[in-house]
């Protein structure tokens, strides 16, 4: 029986996710807390809920890795990874063989191609525009006066033959209101917007190249219409993991597990990070900016060249 446990925390723009795994990589507990932009309280609640569900105290954890825009706010982490690396890692574990991960988060969306080794090949992120992100769906739901959880079902009832001319999260709301003022069916508006968003996501995929199998992750993956229209735009089946929101946190926990395995004793894990031939983070010549994190002593999460030089 394994006694080691690892925590992965994904502190995103609108939700905090925490996943506890055991020493074999199995999910022991998870939690998702929606709390608004990069919330420390949300993060702590997510961590507390996951630990409580797993029946663990913080001190019992053998490693913690954080990810997401708020990754450097998470206390006690051994390492931070970007959500790109973590989503690829978590999704390839949940859906073995996946080659293209499309993650739609609260404020950004990403297309990540994954190699046969489960590692990131190429990635592309949306620019500053919120089009096609979770935030955009929230705007759409508000304009259509429906709950966000009901939006997908509504869109699945409609015909997607209305022309949506803008994908700007601000101006789209204006356009949707205009369509509603014309007494057009709400379901048709919803489906048309979903179709337009899928086309936008296609442009993101084009930057990295279409590969299959495709998996959609992030909160938007719970929206059946988003999955349907994306699948239609890509002309391939789009899979969704059982818990699409926690793939980043799960990937972070897996990376914590791998780092721990490599830390005792030094061994080469195919396709994974390799230890640097140093012993501590404060050794001369070492910068924690982007380091592997597998050294003795605390990681300097605020490591800056400006400070170091």
């Amino acid at each position: 029986m394994t006694t080691r446990h690892y925590l992965g925390v994904d502190l995103g723009s609108t939700t905090a996710k925490a996943v506890v795994i055991d020493g074999l990589g199995g999910i022991a507990a998870s939690s998702t807390i929606a709390m608004g932009a990069v919330s420390r309280r949300g993060m702590q609640r997510a961590i507390d809920a996951a630990l409580e569900s797993a029946g663990l105290e913080t001190a019992e954890l053998s490693g913690t890795v954080s990810t997401g825009y708020g990754r450097k706010l998470v206390p006690g982490v051994q390492r931070t990874f970007t959500e790109i690396t973590c989503h690829a890692r978590g999704t390839s574990e949940m859906v073995p063989g996946v080659r293209l991960v499309i993650d739609v988060g609260g404020q950004d969306s990403k297309a990540i191609t994954v190699g046969s080794d489960g590692l990131v090949d190429e990635f592309a992120m949306n620019d500053r525009c919120a089009s096609g992100t979770g935030r955009f769906y929230e705007v759409l739901a508000r304009a259509l006066e429906c709950e966000i959880d009901d939006l997908g079902a509504l869109a699945m009832q409609g015909n997607d033959d209305l022309e949506i001319s803008t994908m700007c999260a601000t101006f789209a709301e204006t356009e949707i209101v205009s369509l509603m003022a014309q007494d057009l069916p709400v379901a048709d508006i919803a489906s048309s917007v979903h179709r337009a968003i899928a086309a936008r996501t296609l442009a993101l995929v084009a930057q990295v190249g279409k590969r299959t199998p495709v998996v959609l992750t992030g909160g938007v993956a719970r929206n059946p219409a988003a999955v349907h229209f994306l699948s239609r735009a890509l002309r391939v089946e789009v899979g969704v993991p059982e818990q699409p929101q926690i793939t980043g946190a799960y990937g972070a926990a897996l990376l914590a597990l791998e780092a721990d395995q490599r830390g005792r004793p030094v061994q080469d894990v195919a396709g994974a990070d390799h230890l640097f031939p140093r012993t501590s983070h404060d050794e001369p010549g070492h910068s924690c900016a982007g380091c592997d994190g597998n050294l003795a002593g605390p990681v300097d999460l605020g490591a800056s060249i400006a400070v170091r030089r």
Binding site: Y69, F81, T82, E83, I84, T85, D108, L119, V120, D121, F123, M125, D127, R128, D268, G271, A272, D273, H274, L275, F276, P277, R278, P284, G285, H286, S287, A289, G290, C291, D292, A303, S304, I305, A306, R309
Partner: protein, 385 residues
């Protein structure tokens, strides 16, 4: 208290107006020529007694100039238009430019229109460098440039004065190249922002004064061994400086810049003027040979291509990845980028495209992208013995 040399260079790089004011105070009869990048031979202006200053993107927000050029023009040209509109370009007694790109020509037109009292001279240089007639056409334009700077300064450009200016700029470039070579070799940890300041100050200052300070700054620099961050080559930004905060984010995200082909970097230093040839012939030769030394997508030359140069450069420097810094919306770079990307993919060199903007750049999103690139390279690094 003596101001350290590096600090003086940084001041000149970041406060063009301050440096020019000090120069004018020391040279009451002197004239300052604003030179648009990238191809005007400053040696000619210097030999005529002018202070040639390569007009920088002063990194101020575009305000009144916003309406003067379309939004799809690059940030640098819109910034130049804004400098004109707000009177910031009145720093110069005249503005000269050699052929560059169509967007910059637009900025020069704005200057000509809104600041009619300031002479604006635009000389076309042959862009098709493989053509047999290119050399002759370039020589003719260089002679025109000579006549124009003589008319502006009221002084003749003699062979002797031109040789002296050529030697002064060459010496400054050589010293800068040596510093860049040290950075690439890993013997001295020059941050990209520091190197940018060194080059940007060279674009503003008198070359003799700059060289003296440069040598002091180099002596002040303490050697530091290279750390194990992911070695990257910065590519792009062919005619103006990327934002300092972006360079900072790149190195703070686990990347170590070991080489570049930036305008405020290797591109500016790529070619010296031949000191053996007749000076006017050497000036023409400088222009026609630059593209072969570091290709530019605004020039056409059949035996020079940027992608090959880039691959060979990463081999020399040991760069593990290339970060493309592409200003929105630099057409020459945009058009060539697919070739660069395909070639680097074929060579198995990791790469990242960052589209930069004049203002409001999303630094945190860029940080995530650079960190993801770093993670990708680290996870594929061979194991240490």
């Amino acid at each position: 208290m003596t101001v350290p040399a590096m600090e003086r260079l940084v001041r000149a790089a970041r406060d063009t107006r301050g440096y020019v004011a000090a120069w004018r105070a020391a040279h009451p009869d002197g004239k300052v020529l604003g030179v648009m990048p990238m191809n005007f031979p400053r040696e000619l202006a210097h030999a005529a007694g002018l202070l040639p200053v390569i007009v920088p993107d002063d990194q101020e927000p575009v305000t009144e100039g916003r309406a003067l050029l379309p939004e799809f023009y690059c940030g640098f040209t819109r910034n130049l238009a804004d400098q004109v509109a707000t009177g910031r370009l009145d720093l110069y007694d005249a503005v000269f430019m050699a052929d560059h790109c169509i967007q910059l020509v637009g900025a020069a037109d704005v200057a000509r229109q809104l600041q009619p009292e300031t002479p604006v001279f635009f000389g076309m240089l042959a862009t098709s460098l493989s053509d047999a007639w290119a050399g002759q056409k370039v020589a003719e334009m260089m002679n025109t440039f000579r006549e124009e700077v003589e008319a502006l300064s009221g002084s003749k450009v003699t062979d002797e004065s031109l040789r002296a200016s050529i030697a002064a700029y060459n010496a400054d470039r050589r010293a800068l190249r040596q510093i860049f070579d040290e950075r690439t070799a890993g013997s001295t940890a020059w941050a990209p922002t520091e190197l940018q300041d060194l080059v940007a100050s060279a674009m503003v200052m008198d070359p003799v004064e700059h060289l003296a300070l440069l040598e002091l700054a180099r002596a002040e620099k303490v050697g530091q061994p290279r750390d194990e961050r992911v070695r990257v080559h910065l590519s792009g930004h062919m005619c103006h400086a990327p934002r300092r905060e972006l360079l900072q984010v790149i190195e703070d995200s686990g990347a170590l810049v070991v080489d570049d082909d930036l305008w405020t970097g290797r591109r500016f230093l790529s070619t010296d003027v031949d000191e053996v040839l007749e000076p006017m012939e050497a000036i023409g030769h400088w222009y026609t040979s630059r593209n072969g030394n570091l290709p530019c997508p605004t020039r056409v030359q059949h035996d020079a291509d940027w992608d090959t140069w880039l691959v060979e450069s990463t081999e020399r420097s040991g760069a593990e990845a290339v970060i493309h810094l592409m200003p929105k919306f630099c057409e020459p770079h945009m058009l060539l980028y697919p070739e660069l990307r395909k070639r680097l993919d074929a060579e198995g060199i990791a790469q990242l495209l960052i589209e930069t903007e004049h203002e409001g750049i999303p630094l945190e999103a860029f940080r995530t992208r650079v960190e993801a690139l770093v993670e990708r390279v680290l996870r594929k690094r061979p194991a240490y013995a």
